[in-house]
Symmetry: C2
Subunit: 397 residues, 2 copies
């Protein structure tokens, strides 16, 4: 795939000693040479971190020029001092590139309940500011600077020609742990050089997040810091995208967000399978979402997938307690293309073959169909392995 840094953006990631390993960048700067239309979507957890409070007060905006990201410390549950630290991070980042304090947004991820090491942050911002660039190395160091327990960096992008203008979209994300619907511990920044106004940026982001970042879970735990930011600086020039041009842009934007969203459970802690769950035939989309989320978060469903067990009973019974009314006698279930359950009863199938199909690949496809209506949703989740438990039981040691 053709991944380019959109025009007018520079970036860098550096190590400033928040993380122990000097090989791991822990501070990222993303800078636009001109003000961006910017929007955010944030965790709905009542216990939210200082950067979430700061950014949500600053978006939507048509003034944003800088995003500073640190990993290793989430600046959550840190009270008024945490809020002052987030503001100071924004100010330092903005000043480092000649912008005003209010033109910066802040993302933090990592340990919660500890104060931000502001001396390290200050040094990191200064170091990153002099390394800003548009090379592939700059892009990768920036993407790596936001990771925590991720095993791979997560970057997606597209360049498309819209109305004769070559428009680029670039996204980077971190995920892996403590994830769930409403994004849990998930950070993502998507940027473009397309010209868009702040309201459109917010609408695009909210609508697309609903279909992508909010349709995945690793462990169902929604975090204090989840944020997706979208910045559009219009560096390709020309009029604002509208009408058919905007819809062309939306399509590419959705694909980039879906690529990023899928990459997060695909790199879920200890995960050996990425499960794509299609819930179909529901009365409305919210019902489909509740059913999908309940199945996706069932530890019995997730352990069954880890064990390559085509256990229709766990899937169907998880749907049964989602709190969504449905007629059980109309439920049908396919797993990796094989019909396991039809009109409320299991059907004979080759258990060994389906089990082998789970074992053979990383991707598992479940289609759960109801007879209530025409609404559907696509959801992504992971299996649950002993390795996940080891990682999360031994986090501190």
């Amino acid at each position: 795939m053709d991944i380019r840094i959109p025009l007018g953006f520079e970036m860098a990631g550096v190590h400033c000693r928040i993380k122990r390993d000097p090989q791991k960048p822990d501070l990222t700067l993303i800078v636009s040479d001109r003000p961006c239309a910017a929007a955010g979507v944030y965790t709905r957890n009542l216990v939210f971190a200082a950067p979430v409070a700061l950014d949500s007060s600053r978006t939507p905006s048509d003034q944003i020029r800088v995003v500073v990201v640190n990993s290793g410390n989430a600046n959550a549950c840190t009270g008024e001092r945490g809020m002052r630290d987030a503001q100071e991070m924004a100010r330092l980042a903005a000043e480092s590139v000649g912008a005003k304090a209010h033109q910066a947004l802040v993302l933090s991820t990592g340990i919660i309940g500890e104060f931000m090491p502001m001396d390290k942050i200050e040094q990191g911002i200064a170091a990153a500011a002099v390394k800003l660039g548009r090379s592939e190395a700059c892009l990768l160091s920036a993407a790596r600077g936001m990771l925590t327990t991720d095993t791979v960096h997560k970057v997606a992008g597209q360049t498309v020609t819209i109305d004769g203008r070559e428009v680029s979209i670039l996204g980077m994300a971190k995920g892996a742990a403590m994830m769930g619907p409403n994004m849990a511990t998930m950070l993502a920044v998507v940027m473009t050089d397309a010209p868009l106004d702040p309201d459109t940026v917010q609408e695009l982001l909210s609508t697309t997040t609903d279909k992508t970042f909010n349709c995945m879970s690793v462990d169902g735990h929604m975090s204090t810091n989840d944020t997706v930011l979208f910045l559009a600086n219009g560096a390709v020039g020309g009029d604002l995208l509208e009408g058919a041009a905007l819809e062309e842009f939306r399509k590419a934007f959705e694909e980039v967000c879906e690529d990023l969203a899928r990459s997060i459970p695909a790199d879920g802690e200890g995960c050996t399978h990425l499960v794509t769950l299609d819930v179909e035939g529901c009365a409305d989309r919210e019902s489909a979402r509740r059913l999908a989320r309940t199945v996706a978060n069932s530890v019995l469903v997730k352990t069954a997938i880890a064990g390559a067990d085509p256990n229709w009973g766990r899937i169907v019974s998880a749907a049964g307690y989602a709190g969504v009314p449905f007629d059980p006698s109309q439920v049908c279930l396919h797993l990796n293309g094989t019909l396991l359950y039809e009109n409320g009863a299991p059907v004979p199938f080759d258990q060994k073959a389906v089990s082998q199909s789970i074992r053979d690949g990383k991707d598992v496809h479940i289609v759960l169909r109801f007879g209530e209506g025409n609404a559907s949703i696509r959801f992504w989740t992971t299996d649950l392995t002993t390795e996940y438990v080891r990682l999360n039981a031994d986090y501190h040691t």
Copy 2:
């Protein structure tokens, strides 16, 4: 504790080859020599098993004389044939002791989606009927006949003197897997020789289940078969319990149900800790329940306990996504008596000492306090270990 079989009841458990291991009973008969006032509380899963449909149509009742239980096959997702099989089980059990078909209730647990091996069931009922008795061996075989992956049988009881009458209460349960609020895969039968009318039996059971069996979870998965039955045969004689006498009975009944309820997560699959979670200071009991359930089902909270990690962040952030409004700045958290979090912020504490206190015992006590009101709830859950995942990923192998 003084555990006696209430007057007028006999029981037996036998092996009838539904389970492979001949050492494990898989069919239990419980018989009263006279009709009982009987009530049930059932799974709220939309996908429920045939025995749930049968029993819920027969309770409350003043006619029940027999409960037949089998383990190894849940008779769930078996359609009309499953319903006929459940009726036939009831008929066979009733006839084996000279009762009428409609005087029997049926409980099944085990694999779902397979038809009941009725030939084995018929032989098992015949074998159990001739072994009925009131010895400790009868009690234990009956209790063991309902187990699946449980590692220990679960029996609780009390004998109390009420109005000069010595009244006994005896309960037996199975649990261990696929458990969650609204009882998940949980079966329990509680019996007494006290004289109670059916409406009182139903009220006692519903009210008490709400505080006991519905306040625990192992994995949050609600099953197709959950049932608690309560039978009162009045064999001690005298008038129906009312007023103060009824309240004395209620107290003992609640204690028996709580003992049984606690024994289920205590024997949760792979579990190394039993967590007692007190959620206090809520606006109403339903809010307290939602908060408790969300914290109790968080795999991150559960893995933290498995790792002896006093991770207040996971507990507080799980509360934050329960969907219950609260003021984060009033939240306080104690773990094993140590204050970890006060008025919305972590406080310094001896992490090693608290961690050691988790490691040193099986019981963990969490008190999560809000500033919204006076409602509270006590909830029981387990930790989540690699052993749980192994058990549930390799169930079929």
